[in-house]
């Protein structure tokens, strides 16, 4: 009847609060990062920040090392998570729901608390903190994010496809290699997204599990920002953002973006 009423009844309008939130806390900061990254201390346009990164071997090394750690973590998560998801998806429904819950349960506890507990545990067991501990902590923290999407795609897979493959002469190994694995790739792709993205930017886990001995790229950014080097920090953030964007594109492409996703 009147305009005020259509404002609330039109369903598209219900998204307005979130769009506003998104604009203020996501879009504007990203724009600010881009502006800061291409500006010098006097707000003039410059590429000096990127040049500084390229000419700074320590920063580049940290960057490469971070990417390496992230890839290692992601691969370890796939190797550990895929068999777990596969076994879970094959179990009877009631039993597997309970077991899935067990795998997901650690996610209910705050990541910092979990990591602090890991540090305490390693201390108690006299396990030296360092690179090994770091990768362990990352895998431990992010493994559920790999298991769940893979479990979901396997669960949804039509079992008659497995029967069809067996019928056409495929032994159990071929059934897995030619049917189950290719059909679960969308789940693996979302798992990679869910694990790779946070591992490349995290710094808390690295600080706690290496006693600040190993610096990751996230830590470098945090230090620069803390020390008032806003423009350089912004440039580093932008580089990381681009890397995450590229990963997202690659994995969503390989998975057709159709299936998978967590929940």
């Amino acid at each position: 009847m009147n305009r005020g009423q259509t404002l609330f009844t039109k369903r598209a309008n219900w998204a307005v609060p979130y769009v506003v939130f998104l604009a203020i806390f996501v879009l504007i900061p990203i724009i600010l990062i881009v502006i800061y990254a291409f500006a010098d201390a006097d707000d003039k346009f410059t590429l000096a920040n990127f040049r500084k990164f390229m000419l700074h071997p320590e920063a580049v090394n940290t960057f490469v090392y971070s990417v390496g750690i992230a890839i290692t973590t992601t691969l370890a998560c796939i190797l550990l998570g895929y068999p777990a998801a596969y076994i879970l998806s094959r179990n009877s429904f009631a039993a597997s729901r309970a077991t899935v819950l067990l795998f997901i349960l650690p996610m209910w506890i705050n990541i910092l608390i979990r990591t602090l507990a890991t540090v305490a545990l390693f201390d108690f067991l006299n396990v030296p903190l360092g690179e090994g501990a770091l990768v362990f902590g990352m895998v431990y923290n992010f493994l559920p994010f790999m298991i769940y999407p893979i479990y979901n795609t396997l669960r949804k897979m039509d079992y008659s496809l497995v029967e069809a493959a067996r019928d056409l002469g495929a032994n159990p190994a071929s059934v897995f290699a030619r049917v189950v694995l290719p059909l679960s790739m969308p789940g693996v792709a979302s798992g990679i997204m869910m694990v790779f993205m946070p591992t490349i930017s995290t710094f808390a886990i690295a600080e706690l599990l290496t006693m600040n001995n190993i610096k990751l790229f996230g830590t470098t950014i945090q230090e620069n920002i803390n020390n008032g080097m806003w423009n350089y920090g912004a440039a580093l953030s932008l580089i990381m953002l681009l890397l995450i964007g590229v990963t997202g594109l690659i994995s969503s492409d390989s998975g057709n973006g159709k299936e998978g996703g967590i929940l």
């Binding site: 039509d158 029967e163 067996r166 019928d167 056409l168």
Partner: protein, 466 residues
């Protein structure tokens, strides 16, 4: 070796899930090159039987051999059979070509040979030129053609088809039936086809196996099955039938619906209770005249395309279905006639409910896991176990499950002209048979009461006849 004449031999195979028997001592032989259809209503065990032959499930007991080899324990990928699934089960991550080539690639054939075979298979199913299409972009009928091509390209000894046309619309189904028939002829391989569609079975098969409740009811050529159904279930399931209770008075004389008829059957003895089956197209309908065997009032007349289907009510309260090219107006009196050779007489599987029972005290017995009150037991007081008989029409069924002494589910309904003959599966998984004029549906939950006066107590050892 006469052994090789049979490509599939199924011997006394049973399949039990938990405490439910899906297949009960099924035996079946399939000849090389035959087109055999396993026909039955849903839940009769036909798909389970096919899956046992394909090897997707192990048999609980019994033996299956294919091409002379015992394959009871062989996994599916080592059996010389291929399956066409009801829901196609095409691999969504592969295109048409790679779907069809799937089995050939596993055999490690050269890519030139594979390309040739795939092309030939596609031509066979009329899908030439679709090699590089995504399977999701195909229609249901096209997907089923690809599924058939994927199976036959492996040149199996036997092609198993699990309701392959069930998901298609009527027109497409008819076309595909003809094509399957042609394919069977030109390929020369054995087809084992599962369906619940009796028309499809009659059209396609060399031989039909009718199944119900995990057992084979009858097997034979389509013409045999249609013309000489071996029991009331088969008669009811294949085509339309009038099925009535009758009495075989003596050889070649049967009484039903209150009249006596000449027939051609012999050897039932005198006054034997029988089931009588008359196909609706075998009942002649005309103006009442000298030739009339009995008369009735036409209660409905429906045009069915080629013929009219009429329901005729006799004065004795029986209803007959009649098919004729000429309609009779509703409400008119008509004369009916059936030739002796068209009256099919079958021995009844049972004439009353029979259960083994145990006495509790002088006025109570226990059977079907329930204690029933009976009239005082005199002669068998000292016996522990004996037999009880209850006539079909004495069983009382209730809408409300709590009103009965025990509960069950209606699992089969047979219309007998003036009443319904129901098979009720009790919760202890035994069947009670009840005659009623009330209308029930398959799957209805009912309460069952057996009045004391209806329970006849008989000694256990006595013979079957009274």
């Amino acid at each position: 070796m006469r052994k090789s004449e049979y490509i599939i031999r199924v011997k006394n195979v049973s399949k039990v899930y938990g405490d439910k028997t899906v297949l009960n001592q099924v035996s079946l032989d399939v000849r090389k090159g035959e087109f055999v259809t396993i026909l039955g209503p849903s839940g009769c065990g036909k798909t389970t039987l096919l899956r046992l032959i394909a090897g997707f499930q192990p048999a609980t007991s019994g033996e299956i051999s294919i091409a002379g080899n015992n394959v009871t324990q062989t996994p599916p990928h080592r059996r010389p059979v291929n399956t066409v699934f009801q829901r196609y089960a095409l691999f969504p991550h592969l295109n048409v070509y790679n779907n069809i080539a799937f089995g050939l690639k596993l055999k490690k054939l050269s890519s030139v040979v594979i390309a040739g075979k795939v092309k030939q298979a596609l031509r066979m199913v009329g899908m030439t030129g679709y090699e590089y299409r995504d399977v999701d972009s195909l229609s249901g009928g096209q997907q089923q053609r690809v599924a058939i091509a994927r199976a036959i390209v492996n040149e199996p000894e036997v092609l198993l088809l699990d309701e392959p046309l069930a998901a298609l619309d009527l027109k497409m189904r008819k076309d595909m039936q003809m094509e399957l028939r042609e394919m069977h002829k030109s390929l020369g391989i054995t087809f084992v086809y599962v369906t619940h569609d009796q028309e499809e079975a009659l059209t396609l098969s060399d031989r039909i196996i009718v199944m119900s409740e995990g057992r084979i009811q009858q097997e034979g050529t389509p013409i045999d099955i249609y013309n000489e159904p071996s029991n009331a279930f088969v008669a009811d399931f294949i085509g339309e039938s009038n099925i009535l209770d009758g009495i075989m008075l003596r050889d070649r004389l049967v009484s039903f619906a209150g009249y006596e008829f000449e027939c051609v059957d012999e050897g039932f003895g005198e006054n034997a209770p029988v089931d009588v089956v008359i196909r609706p197209e075998d009942l002649y309908i005309f103006e009442p005249s000298e030739a009339t065997q009995f008369t009735g009032i036409v209660s409905s007349c429906i045009f069915k395309g080629v013929h009219y289907e009429m329901m005729v009510q006799t004065p004795g309260g029986y209803e007959f279905m009649v098919q004729n090219y000429h309609p009779f107006e509703t409400g008119r009196e008509a004369g009916l006639l059936v030739k002796p050779a068209d009256i099919h007489v079958m021995r009844k599987e049972r004439v009353c409910n029979t259960f083994e029972a145990r006495s509790v005290d002088e006025t109570h017995v226990e059977f079907l896991g329930t204690v029933f009150e009976v009239r005082p037991l005199d002669d068998i007081r000292n016996r522990k176990s004996f037999r009880v008989e209850i006539d079909f029409d004495k069983i009382i069924l209730h809408d409300n499950e709590e009103d009965g002494q025990l509960t069950g589910e209606v699992c089969f309904i047979l219309y007998k002209g003036n009443h319904y003959h129901l098979t009720v599966s009790t919760d202890s998984d035994e069947d009670i048979f009840a005659d009623t004029s009330d209308v029930w549906d398959n799957g209805d939950r009912v309460g069952i009461t057996i009045p004391p006066a209806a329970i006849r107590v008989k000694p256990l050892t006595c013979g079957a006849n009274e």
